[in-house]
């Protein structure tokens, strides 16, 4: 007698979020990126639908990043000094599907660029590239509350993804995203209870749940990856079981975490046994990203083009449904 495979049937699905608006939708992007919509746990094609594949977003910055090691700066060369050219390079040369601009230079301790600078940059990037845009603040509450609403207004109609909203500071950003038709990133500090609470607070402002993305906060390989993984897994299981306040797609900020580790950054002269830092750094970022794909990540922010190449190849392989032997 053949053994019948037990298949899980869930009652709820992950929300589908659409980033970027085409001309027909009132924006100017070439295409929209859709994520979410899964009806089961990651890549279990036998028992669920996975209508949209996960996407990688190239992370760029409005100022030349000071803390990036040379191995990470090398592929971008002098475009690091010009965020618009940098964005174009990601789109044209590295075939980016999504780009995330971090407005790091608006932070008071990091150059204190003005709101006018930020708005101009967002407009310039939107006219230079045709892929959808993620806009990230500098993590300075006061400055973000000044700048992000203006960026949201400047990008009106483009259906960007803007972040991050946190439990202590979400109202200004949520109101701006609502007013100008954008999606919002809701960030919680590796805490499923706060993730759920923040989603409720944002939804109570009138934001539809299919315009919120959960940033669960992740750690790199060796730096808390397992903990973040288990939080995502638990949230996704709750979502599929019917919890509508956890059923949004996940965004994982992998690049910033992976390239912060000593294992990715340290040179071979410092640790001769560890091998070449170039390969090591790329693998550290790619491995971290691949692990979070298995936990259910829908959007992954990454930095090194080679690491992104590895992860995209992995996504393509994961998205090939395995045909049953029977």
């Amino acid at each position: 007698m053949p053994l019948e495979a037990l298949k899980e049937k869930w009652s709820n699905t992950v929300d589908i979020i659409s980033i970027g608006a085409t001309k027909a939708e009132g924006g100017s992007r070439d295409r929209a990126v859709k994520v979410g919509g899964q009806t089961g746990l990651p890549y279990l094609f036998e028992e669920s639908d996975i209508p949209n594949k996960p996407v990688v977003a190239f992370e760029i910055s409005d100022i030349e990043p000071l803390d990036w090691p040379n191995t990470l700066k090398e592929p971008y060369g002098k475009t690091l000094k010009d965020p618009v050219e940098w964005a174009v390079k990601c789109e044209k040369e590295f075939k980016a599907e999504l780009i995330a601009i971090r407005l790091a230079g608006t932070h008071p301790d990091n150059g204190n660029k003005s709101d006018t600078d930020a708005v101009k940059l967002i407009k310039d990037i939107l006219s230079a590239v045709k892929i959808p845009l993620i806009i990230l603040g500098s993590n300075d509450e006061t400055k973000d509350n000044l700048i992000l609403p203006q960026c949201a207004e400047a990008a009106k109609g483009e259906r960007c993804l803007i972040g991050d909203a946190v439990q202590k500071n979400y109202k200004t950003l949520a109101a701006a995203c609502l007013a100008y038709g954008h999606n919002i990133i809701a960030e919680s500090p590796i805490d499923i209870n706060i993730a759920k609470q923040l989603n409720i607070l944002i939804s109570e402002m009138g934001m539809p749940s299919n315009r919120t993305v959960i940033n669960p906060t992740v750690g790199a390989l060796g730096y808390g990856l397992e903990y973040a993984y288990s939080i995502m897994e638990r949230a996704r299981i709750a979502a599929l079981g019917g919890d509508k306040m956890l059923s949004q797609p996940f965004i994982c900020f992998v690049g910033q975490e992976a390239w912060r580790t000593k294992e990715a950054k340290a040179s071979i002269t410092e640790f001769p046994d560890w091998g070449k830092e170039l390969e090591r750094g790329i693998l550290w970022e790619a491995l971290t990203a691949n692990a979070f794909l298995q936990a259910g990540a829908d959007i992954i922010l990454m930095r090194h083009p080679k690491a992104i190449e590895i992860v995209k190849k992995n996504i393509d392989e994961l998205m090939q449904p395995i045909t049953s032997n029977q």
């Binding site: 209870n193 939804s203 949230a235 919890d243």
Partner: protein
């Protein structure tokens, strides 16, 4: 928890009036209020006074469906009245209910299969109400076996252990709670469990308190579903808090609101 709202029942004066006067709006208001309060399904019962229960059932189902998509739990002792509702129901349905008697099962199990409906099976027979856990389990096994033999999926069967009023059958509370736990191990896949909650407090002067205390204890025994008054806020709060303690819902500061969303 699969919550079945009990308020659309001709036993209640306001519903009886609405049926008599064909006051659709009154019924629809109760349907909306119960759905908003967190009901997963709405019980629909014409009540004992209805002269033409088949037509009344159809009228009720139609009125409710105009305003909510909530699944309906069609409640009658007469199979033809239940079928009148099933035949026009647009959303998921639950048949309420079948006794553990051959002739009842012969009618209602095929009906549930035909309309792809869930079914509530009562652990009682025409001989009367069971007096202890073992009698309840024996009747439940008869229902489960019948379902298995006739191709009805047991995980779509809700077994009701028969809750009795605490002021007349005090010894039955403990028996019922133990029965709920043991229903779940009668078959694999396990049947679901349901109680008609308000019965426990019938005739007492602290109905809400007794209802919610019993509900939480039954949840602790693995109860899957209850027919109850979803507009009783204290009851619903207790239900939600119990789901948290049992790790069935993820905690957040607004957990009471979150559950009702």
């Amino acid at each position: 928890m699969f919550i079945i709202g009990e308020l659309i029942n001709g036993m209640y004066k306001n519903v009886q009036e609405a049926i008599k006067n064909k006051d659709k709006k009154a019924i629809q208001e109760i349907a909306i209020a119960q759905t908003k309060a967190g009901s997963s399904a709405l019980d629909v019962n014409c009540g004992p006074a209805s002269a033409n229960p088949k037509d009344t059932m159809k009228w009720l189902v139609e009125a409710i469906q105009e305003v909510v998509d909530t699944p309906l739990c069609l409640d009658s002792t007469r199979p033809d009245v239940i079928e009148a509702g099933l035949s026009i129901a647009k959303n998921k349905t639950v048949i309420n209910s079948a006794y553990a008697d051959q002739e009842k099962l012969d009618t209602l199990v095929p009906m549930a299969l035909k309309y792809n409906s869930a079914l509530i099976g009562l652990a009682m027979s025409k001989k009367g109400v069971p007096q202890d856990k073992l009698q309840r389990l024996e009747l439940a096994v008869q229902i489960i076996t019948y379902c298995q033999d006739n191709g009805f999926p047991v995980n779509n069967l809700y077994l009701d252990p028969i809750v009795l009023p605490v002021n007349v059958a005090q010894s039955q509370g403990q028996e019922v709670l133990e029965t709920i736990r043991e229903f779940k191990i009668l078959s694999d896949p396990a049947p679901k469990t349901v109680v008609g909650l308000s019965n426990v407090s019938q005739g007492t002067n602290q109905r809400s308190l007794i209802n919610r205390t019993f509900l939480v204890m039954a949840q602790g025994c693995g109860l899957d579903s209850a027919i109850l008054d979803p507009l009783d806020n204290d009851l619903m709060d207790a239900l939600i808090a119990a789901e948290l303690i049992l790790n069935k819902q993820i905690y957040c500061d607004s957990f009471l609101n979150a559950y009702r969303k």
